[in-house]
């Protein structure tokens, strides 16, 4: 039986699960002791600097590094020629070309070369002395430009996948995803009200406060150690190895603390460069991005164009939905157009639908995952249209969603049947909250939206050791971005029945624990947690056996209760974890066990949110008055950090809705690559985020956990736009809802 199928563990009444322990890594993080990527310093370490393309699209005619190599302090210079030719599947070749350009630079900021020198200033001066001859090519910066007939091509061999018949000419469209059901024409014919519109969103950056950093140390015998801050050091190992042309085992990756990721630290940028520079220099090399580089060369999330149309009956029943969606992939294929297509209508029981999603390359940095990747944009379109329909039909926005909400047993638009889910519960929680009844004043508006995200399971491993003093070490390979050490400790404490303070959770390097996929997809508490639970149960089974041996009784006579082995008939004094640890010399040696699994039973997540805001009619400025979110967490292992995920996702979504966007000049250069001009929300922009953690246990997890990290960012885009419409009766379908755009709408220039 796998861990997830053990019914004995699904009952509540927990002692540690659901409590709010101080996080085990907290002291280090409030005293400045925690070591993040850029904090690693090795003896003899050199500093690197990356030369990046100043052009959005250009052929690289030649690169002359001879001057740079002669400069003071310079120990190594690398270009694309220092790496194996791109090979393997298309995705691997794109990865190789994104890390360092070969034939062409495909976006401003694309890596061309890198230098390692004794000081930062020397490395920078040498990088600037590299002579690159470019032949500038015409660029495309939007899906409209990229999909136009005769558009300049980024990749001369890119053939659209998912089109029948297969195309014979290359284009900038990498793929088309389609999800359909029922009879669309019939659905719209049956509709009493049809709402439609074209929606656009701009690329936005994940905006983690810690820039990317990597330190590599390659010894002459070829062993390489890499320190980096990432969402998954095993993935950094395998991706770096692909670019270096190595077997992954040649690399040891040690995880530094990670200063935010949100999906943006799930791929490699600096890591193979640092390794190659170190190999060439014979010294450790550190590479750290500036904020400017983070904006120009990493992330962002796709800009999108979405044409949507929904049909409803007079009673609010959604009967038809049609979506045409194009997602910018950046310079290489791989936008989340597919996920956007799958999630768009997933919360609703619409019988007739057609959803098409296009993955389109443009001359911008290759997009990376960002919290529920793809879903916020398609949800923006769908939830805005639902709001329009509700207003036309005179139905409360919560009620129209309740009317169409998916429940257990419903078939999702993307195929599978939903197990037990908590969507309706989030809608009811909002409807019953006092915030939803507060009267609004002039220029104030209220907006509602909901969102869905799959959540992920994937691969996790854990090893549990009992120390000789009876305390427990829990080793996983999942970087802790938001308190996961605490949730691992709580789950292990629950299993062992000991104080959570006696559990030491550790994030092990790639040679200290089995393989773990990344901290992403809202998967860590669910999947790595399941591995921890399974490893704990193996140790507990062993402990019972040791007690049986010591007492010379059958195994069934021993049960594990409150951190000790007890004889079921009470004929022996109990043996504590410490007693059994002290006796391990006589009972079979040290106490340790590992577990490794493909997590199954992933529980999907739903969120419903309502925002009240006020618009200054003279400036178009939006003040967020109050914000309420309700999200199904299944079971909150550490409620504070669950609330934190919900709140953080909401505020990122508000930034996406109101402020954030990449702005490019006509040459395809980013004009706002800093936090002054790319403005993420600050404390004075925000109210408290009122937070309801709904708990509809996930039947697929021993404690009922659902992932909580991502879905919170899905509803805010539409919730804010719906509130703006409510306040000033202007439906704006283009993000961000900047003051100038709102003022334009108020003055009727743009709506």
């Amino acid at each position: 039986m796998t861990i997830a199928e053990d019914p004995a563990t699904t009952s509540p009444g927990y002692k540690w699960v659901g409590t709010r322990m101080i996080r085990p890594d907290g002291f280090e993080k409030v005293t400045g002791r925690a070591r993040f990527g850029a904090d690693i310093k090795l003896n003899g370490m050199l500093y690197g600097h990356v030369l990046r393309s100043p052009h959005a699209h250009a052929t690289i005619v030649s690169i002359d590094t001879s001057e740079a190599e002669k400069m003071a302090g310079v120990r190594a210079v690398i270009t694309g020629a220092d790496f194996p030719d791109p090979s393997g599947p298309a995705g691997d070749q794109d990865l190789q070309r994104n890390v360092i350009a070969r034939e062409k630079a495909l976006y401003e900021g694309h890596t061309i070369a890198a230098v390692a020198a004794q000081t930062r200033a020397q490395a920078k001066a040498a990088a600037e002395a590299i002579k690159v001859v470019y032949e500038v090519l015409p660029h495309v910066m939007s899906v409209d430009e990229a999909m136009a007939p005769g558009a300049p091509l980024l990749h001369p061999k890119l053939m659209t996948k998912g089109v029948d018949p297969a195309p014979t000419e290359p284009s900038n469209v990498a793929s088309r995803a389609v999800y359909q059901g029922g009879d669309l024409d019939l659905g719209f014919a049956e509709s009493d009200v049809v709402v439609e519109g074209t929606f656009t969103t701009k690329p936005v950056h994940q905006g983690y406060i810690e820039p990317h950093a990597a330190v590599a140390d390659t010894t002459p015998n070829g062993r390489t150690t890499l320190w980096c801050s990432s969402q998954g050091h095993f993935t950094m190992r395998s991706l770096s190895a692909k670019v270096l042309g190595w077997e992954p085992s040649k690399l040891k990756v040690i995880p530094a603390e990670i200063g935010g990721g949100f999906g943006g630290k799930t791929t490699i940028y600096l890591e193979p460069l640092a390794v190659r520079l170190s190999q060439k220099a014979g010294r450790p090399v550190k590479l750290v991005m500036s904020r400017d580089e983070v904006f120009r060369a990493t992330g962002p999330a796709s800009g999108t164009k979405i044409v949507g149309k929904l049909g409803f009956k007079n009673d609010g029943t959604m009967v038809a939905g049609e979506l045409w969606m194009a997602y910018e992939a950046g310079a290489f294929a791989g936008s989340p157009a597919g996920a956007g297509s799958m999630t768009a209508l997933a919360p609703y029981t619409v019988p007739n639908f057609l959803i098409e999603g296009f993955d389109v390359v443009v001359n911008k940095p290759k997009v990376a995952a960002y919290r529920a990747p793809g879903a916020p944009m398609s949800s923006f379109a769908v939830e805005s249209l639902i709001d329009e329909a509700a207003k036309k039909l005179g139905i409360d926005p919560i009620d129209i969603r309740l009317k169409n909400a998916v429940t257990e047993g419903c078939t999702a638009t993307y195929g599978p049947k939903f197990p037990r889910i908590g969507f309706v519960e989030t809608l009811e929680a909002i409807k019953n909250h006092p915030n939803y009844q507060i009267p609004l004043g002039p220029n104030q508006g209220r907006g509602v939206a909901s969102g869905f995200w799959f959540n992920a399971g994937l691969n996790s491993s854990a090893t549990v050791h009992v120390n000789e003093d009876g305390n427990v070490i829990v080793v996983t390979g999942s970087p802790d971005i938001g308190g996961s050490r605490a949730s691992m400790a709580l789950m292990a404490a629950e299993e062992f029945g000991i104080d959570a303070a006696r559990i030491q959770p550790v994030v092990g390097d790639t040679e200290s624990v089995g393989y773990n996929d990344q901290t992403g997809g809202s998967r860590t508490t669910l999947a790595t947690g399941a591995a921890v639970i399974e490893a704990c149960r193996k140790v507990i089974a062993d402990l019972r056996g040791r007690a049986a041996k010591q007492w010379d009784v059958a195994l069934e006579k021993v049960e594990w209760v409150d951190g000790q082995a007890q004889h079921v008939e009470g004929t022996q004094p109990p043996l504590s974890l410490a007693d059994l640890a002290r006796g391990w010399n006589r009972t079979g040696g040290p106490l340790t066990a590992s577990a490794a699994l493909n997590a199954r039973g992933v529980g999907s997540a739903f969120s419903t949110q309502v925002v009240d805001l006020e618009i200054d009619p003279d400036t178009g400025h939006v003040t967020v008055l109050r914000y309420l979110t309700a999200q199904d967490a299944g079971r909150a292992i550490h409620p504070s950090y669950v609330e934190g995920q919900l709140q953080g996702g909401v505020v990122q979504g508000i930034g996406w809705a109101l402020n954030e966007e990449y702005i490019f000049d006509r040459n395809g250069k980013m004009e706002n690559p800093g936090f002054l001009d790319y403005r993420i929300p600050v404390a004075s922009d925000m109210p408290m985020i009122d937070t309801i953690v709904v708990e509809v246990p996930n039947p697929g997890h021993p404690y009922g956990v659902r992932g909580v990290g991502e879905v919170g960012i899905v509803p805010p885009l539409a919730a804010v736009a719906n509130a703006v419409d409510d306040a000033v009766s202007r439906r704006i379908r283009d993000l961000p809802l900047s003051p100038v755009r709102i003022l334009d709408a108020i003055l009727n220039k743009d709506s």
């Binding site: 820039p211 504070s640 950090y641």
Partner: protein, 160 residues
Amino acid sequence: MSRIQVSCTVNGDSVDFLCDADGSLLNALRDELGLTGIKEGCGTGDCGACSILMDDELNCACLIFAPEATGTTITTVEGLADGDHLTPLQECFLEGAALQCGICTPGFLVAATALLQHNPNPTETEIRYALAGNLCRCTGYDKIVRAVREAAAQMREASA
């Protein structure tokens, strides 16, 4: 270019270090003194992750040339706690889960320390404006504001 010797007081210690004339105090504190609790999030004074107190004034270390530190008294996040005895702000950040990834936390703690030195009883709005120069991408600020408010209350009670 010859390097400049700088003498100052950092977290109670008299220290000397060498720096370039155009080197930032941020790099000097991190590289020369090993005070890596001070973080660089932007290098342009927009994120507050490198917040320090310099002669009791809140500053971004990335915006100060290292030689300007001569003769000053500097407090960094490493200098807030007394050994393992945390300040009320540090305790309240931990109790209130006011950090997720923790990269911005040193800057917030220093900025909030500066706030409470000047204003022991700030309103929520005052806290939000005082911390508006510190960016946090994880928390949405809710738990940070609550932690500062709670620490202020505890400190007022302790001094009453």
